[in-house]
């Protein structure tokens, strides 16, 4: 399982010889294999719960080392220990051969270790340059912030990294992908030689991902050692040199990426064989539950009206799963929001539920018609994370369970229990606070909340975002199960394998227009990409 046992000694020696690497110009060769960071026997417990048990980890200069594992496997704990966030742990960490014990993040930064958190720590109202040098502004006469110098240094830094961002733009004006790159620039301005990236692509479009990967590769080539986590296996396979897999707080695998298959990594993460199987297409002849005709949506932007959706039409029959594919910003989410009656803007078109033309102008209307939307951002939009499972599941059903405005507490508890059992939510009970659940279980609660209302149409927006592989599998099974029960399901997802796996038919969007509906065998990755890419759609037959 461990393939680096022998070589590590040599590398140790070479890293001791080369001493502490402090400047950037000694990392020209991409893999000189010097171990810059070594962790031995790291263990960490939180209030009696073991998060990490005797984990060894090593990082070589110039490599991208992927750290994989399901949620709760301990990868974020390990990263936080390495970055000085957690300071009480057992075991030893060596940087360039010298044992270190960080007293905090600042201390780690001084030793050249920087972490980029999943939640970006940038100030939206400041410019990119100001953010990069926040708290360390160069001063004139020790008092006045030298703004020109900040901009100059930041621009130079961004340019050298190959990032095309104007350093004087405010962070709020940048897209998330660009913000991520600014965060990287900030970390590097701290003279970081070891960069820890926690799920950097979870909110990025594929084009933004490509830019990020380019920067990451360049950094690695220049000798920066990178620890990289992601839930997306394909990007790990494409980017990483080595991979370490954690499961239940223990290391189960460290190996070079060559020769590892996607399946092998998943098996190591989950601890069992996982098969991604498409379900047999359910031939449904019954009339459509949801039919959408000529849906258009105009939004007000700073430059006047902007057409976000144009002429979207489709039908969903009971038991059918319609996938909506397309690039980020192609109007996928807006379709769901328009159907659910919560899209901001001017909406036009006809929606019929069970053949009856309906007008849905609010979530309350949608609930009455038994149309349900599980939102993309479950923490901000889908759930009350500070409340209990019981309260969350019952919320859309509170009125239904009540009589004369008095809540039916018994009925609410029944609903919550029913959903927890049906969806196999792993929790202590229905009174557990949702924020303490894992991402996958939170997502199940978000789905359960709507299943409790007995919907006929279920709209799912990115149902597996930020969820680990095992939980994804459960969500897929769940969605298949619901379709088998006769629900009409519409799924929006950015992940191509997921789209192909789940959908009976795939509707592809490009720049707000519907460029095609593919069914069955027609729906291949290539066909979808061709329809989804801007500029290609003119040639594609709808």
């Amino acid at each position: 399982m461990t393939t680096h046992g022998v070589s590590i000694q040599d590398e140790m020696a070479s890293s001791v010889q080369s001493g502490r690497r402090s400047s950037g110009d000694d990392g020209q060769t991409s893999h000189n294999h010097a171990v810059v960071l070594e962790a031995k026997g790291i263990s960490k417990t939180f209030a009696g719960v073991t998060a990490l048990r005797d984990v060894d980890f090593d990082l070589r200069s110039g490599e991208v080392h992927a750290l994989m594992g399901e949620n709760g496997a301990g990868k974020s704990t390990l990263m936080k220990i390495l970055a000085g966030v957690h300071v009480d742990y057992e075991g030893e960490i060596r940087i360039n051969g010298a044992p270190v014990s960080f007293s905090g993040v600042r201390d780690a930064e001084r030793a050249g270790v920087a972490i980029i958190h999943q939640e970006l720590n940038l100030v939206p109202e400041l410019t990119a340059a100001e953010n990069i040098f926040l708290g360390r502004e160069p001063l004139i006469l020790g008092t006045i912030v030298d703004h020109r110098r900040i901009v100059k240094a930041a621009s130079a830094l961004l340019k050298r990294l190959g990032i095309e961002i104007d350093a004087q733009r405010r962070i709020a004006e940048l897209r998330i992908g660009e913000q991520q790159l600014v965060e990287i620039a900030k970390a590097l301005s701290l003279d970081a030689r070891i960069l820890i990236m926690d799920e950097p692509t979870s909110a990025l479009s594929s084009a933004e991902c490509d830019t990020l990967f380019k920067v990451v590769r360049q950094l690695a080539q220049a000798g920066v050692a990178i620890i990289y986590t992601s839930h997306r296996l394909d990007e790990v396979l494409a980017l990483a040199n080595r991979v370490t897999v954690l499961r239940d707080g223990q290391r189960v695998l460290t190996a070079p990426i060559e020769g590892l298959s996607q399946g092998a990594i998943i098996s190591a993460m989950v601890g069992r064989e996982v098969t991604l199987s498409r379900r047999d297409s359910v031939a449904s002849s019954s009339a459509s539950v949801l039919s959408v005709r000529n849906l258009t949506l105009d939004k007000v932007s700073s430059r006047g009206w902007r057409r976000v959706l144009q002429g979207v039409s489709f039908d969903v029959r009971p038991g059918e799963i319609l996938g909506i594919g397309g690039l980020l910003g192609s109007g996928r989410t807006e379709i769901l929001e328009s159907i659910f009656g919560v899209a901001r803007g001017w909406r036009d078109g006809d929606i019929a539920v069970d053949g009856e033309p309906v007008s849905i102008n609010s979530a309350a209307d949608a609930c009455r018609l038994r149309v349900a939307l599980v939102t993309e951002d479950r923490k901000a939009l889908g759930l009350h994370v500070a409340s209990t499972i019981r309260d969350n599941v019952a919320l859309p059903s509170v009125a239904a369970a009540s009589r004369f405005g008095v809540r039916g507490f018994v009925r609410e508890a029944e609903l919550a229990t029913e959903m927890v059992e049906k969806l196999a939510v792993r929790c202590y009970g229905i009174d557990q606070i949702v924020a303490t659940l894992s991402g996958g279980n939170q997502q199940k609660v978000a789905i359960g909340k709507w299943l409790a209302t007995g919907p006929r149409v279920l709209l799912l927006d990115e149902p597996t975002r930020g969820i680990d592989v095992g939980a994804k599998q459960e969500i897929y099974q769940l969605i298949f199960g619901l379709a088998a029960e006769g629900l009409a399901i519409v799924v929006v997802t950015s992940e191509m394998p997921e789209l192909l796996l789940l959908s009976d038919r795939v509707l592809v969007m490009c720049e707000g227009r519907q460029t095609g509906v593919l069914s069955g065998a027609e729906a291949t990755q290539e066909a979808i990409m061709r329809l989804a890419a801007p500029g290609m759609s003119e040639r594609a037959a709808p």
Partner: protein, 443 residues
């Protein structure tokens, strides 16, 4: 551990207990050796004094739980005292009665109409096995619209006739109790509409109402007599004195209203869908909206309730102080917010409750009583009030625990300026090993 948790969960009540203890120990004694603080009369006096603030704080709790704020309650209360005092003392169509009669009729009509619909809904829901799955019951045209409208019109007309008949003489106590809160509720409805339909921030909308209700009160009262005196028995009905009497010799009448409001709205928050929605909206308005909750209706209702209770407080103020004046409630909104906050309700919304507000109101009442008994300067009282707000909120929000751990733990490392602009030498991306050799040779 369990004891600690119990202590921390009930810390609010411990604060109240400590204040009582201090009051009892520090209290002066009568010549016969009786403890004045613990005397029955003193305690009922405290209850009487806190009732007006308490009523307003009750409405404020709902609004704050919702994630909003109502700065207008003081002015609305002042305006209500004017309406109430003018109706009591001045016969005929004064500005007060011109405003009050139609508003009361409309409010009564709408109220009865919605109540009828609500009851039909409840009846229609029935004891259905599948009730939990069925969302809204769709009522037929008669029960859904026509009967409620009819009932509403009838009731509105009845109220209009009943109140108009009192205009020629002077208003009685019941009529005042009905009409004044309705007017205040209408002001609350304006607040709510501005916030819901106009998308104004609650702070701004109610700030505007706070200013304009004061002006409205002065206009209604007339420039010359900013204070309208109410002498029951001479210029107003003797029966109005019932609002300052003792009920069965135990409770002062104002406190009966206060306690009833606490109990009623406590039950509303705890047991009704409306209460659940208030918490849900305060906790996460977007998620609440996407859960199918009619956020706008709930918000509007909360601001209306806040206005209604402020109006009721206004009537009690007239009974208590025998006068109505436009600035009767100046500073009241801040007292109410303070009571809500020290009661543990989060200003961010979604967390807290009326039990806390009740205790918060009592803590203020007892504190000023103790200080008065000690003959301490009223400015010291203000100072103490401020300290209590800060102290309780520190304990409530568990900031104290965090502060203590920060002090006890090691000090954070001093900020460094290591990675300054100069210190950064970026990785050289495009340099190949060959060029390095070239550089070596060159040097």
């Amino acid at each position: 551990m369990i004891v600690l948790r119990l202590l921390s969960r009930t810390k609010l009540y411990w604060g109240l207990a400590i204040i009582c203890l201090i009051g009892a120990l520090a209290s002066p004694h009568t010549s016969s050796g009786r403890n004045i603080f613990l005397s029955f009369n003193n305690l009922t006096d405290v209850l009487r004094q806190v009732s007006i603030t308490g009523l307003v704080a009750t409405g404020m709790t709902l609004v704050i739980l919702l994630g909003g704020i109502d700065l207008s309650v003081g002015s609305v209360m002042g305006f209500s005292t004017i309406i109430c005092a003018m109706l009591l003392t001045q016969p005929g169509w004064t500005p007060a009665s011109i405003v009050a009669v139609p508003v009361a009729a409309i409010a009564a009509g709408l109220g009865v109409g919605f109540l009828a619909r609500f009851i039909f809904h409840g009846l229609a829901r029935g004891r259905d096995v599948d009730a939990g799955r069925r969302n809204e019951v769709v009522l037929g045209p008669w029960r859904g619209l026509r009967i409620p409208v009819l009932l509403g019109l009838v009731c509105g007309a009845l109220v209009a006739v009943a109140t108009a008949s009192q205009v020629s003489t002077k208003f009685g106590v019941l009529a005042v109790l009905l009409v004044t809160p309705c007017v205040a509720m209408a002001l609350g409805a304006i607040n709510g509409t501005l916030i819901v339909a106009g998308r104004l921030q609650p702070f701004i909308a109610t700030l505007a109402m706070m200013v304009s209700a004061l002006g409205l009160g002065r206009l209604t009262a007339g420039q010359d007599n900013a204070v309208i005196a109410v002498y029951t028995g001479t210029n107003a009905t003797q029966a109005f004195d019932v609002l300052r009497s003792m009920v069965w010799g135990i409770l002062p009448m104002p406190s009966v209203f206060f306690l009833a409001a606490i109990l009623i709205f406590g039950a509303v928050l705890r047991f009704t869908t409306f209460g659940r929605y208030i918490y849900a909206i305060g906790g996460n308005p977007e998620a609440a909206k996407l859960s199918g909750i009619k956020v706008a209706q709930v918000q509007l209702a909360a601001y209306m309730i806040s206005g209604l209770l402020a109006g009721l407080a206004g009537v009690l103020f007239v009974a208590q102080y025998r006068q109505g004046k436009p600035d009767a409630g100046s500073g009241l909104e801040l007292d109410a917010i303070a009571a809500v906050v020290i009661g543990g309700t989060s200003l961010m919304g979604g967390r807290g409750g009326l039990a806390g507000t009740f205790v918060g109101v009592l803590i203020f009442g007892l504190l000023s009583d103790i200080l008065q008994l000690q003959n301490i300067d009223s400015n010291v009282q203000l100072l103490m009030k401020g300290l209590i707000i800060v102290g309780t909120v520190l304990v409530q929000e568990q900031n104290l625990g965090q502060l203590l751990t920060r002090w006890r733990g090691q000090a954070p490392p001093p900020p460094t300026r290591t990675g300054s602009v100069e210190a950064y030498r970026p990785p050289q991306v495009n340099v190949t090993s060959k060029t390095r050799e070239d550089i070596h040779e060159a040097s």
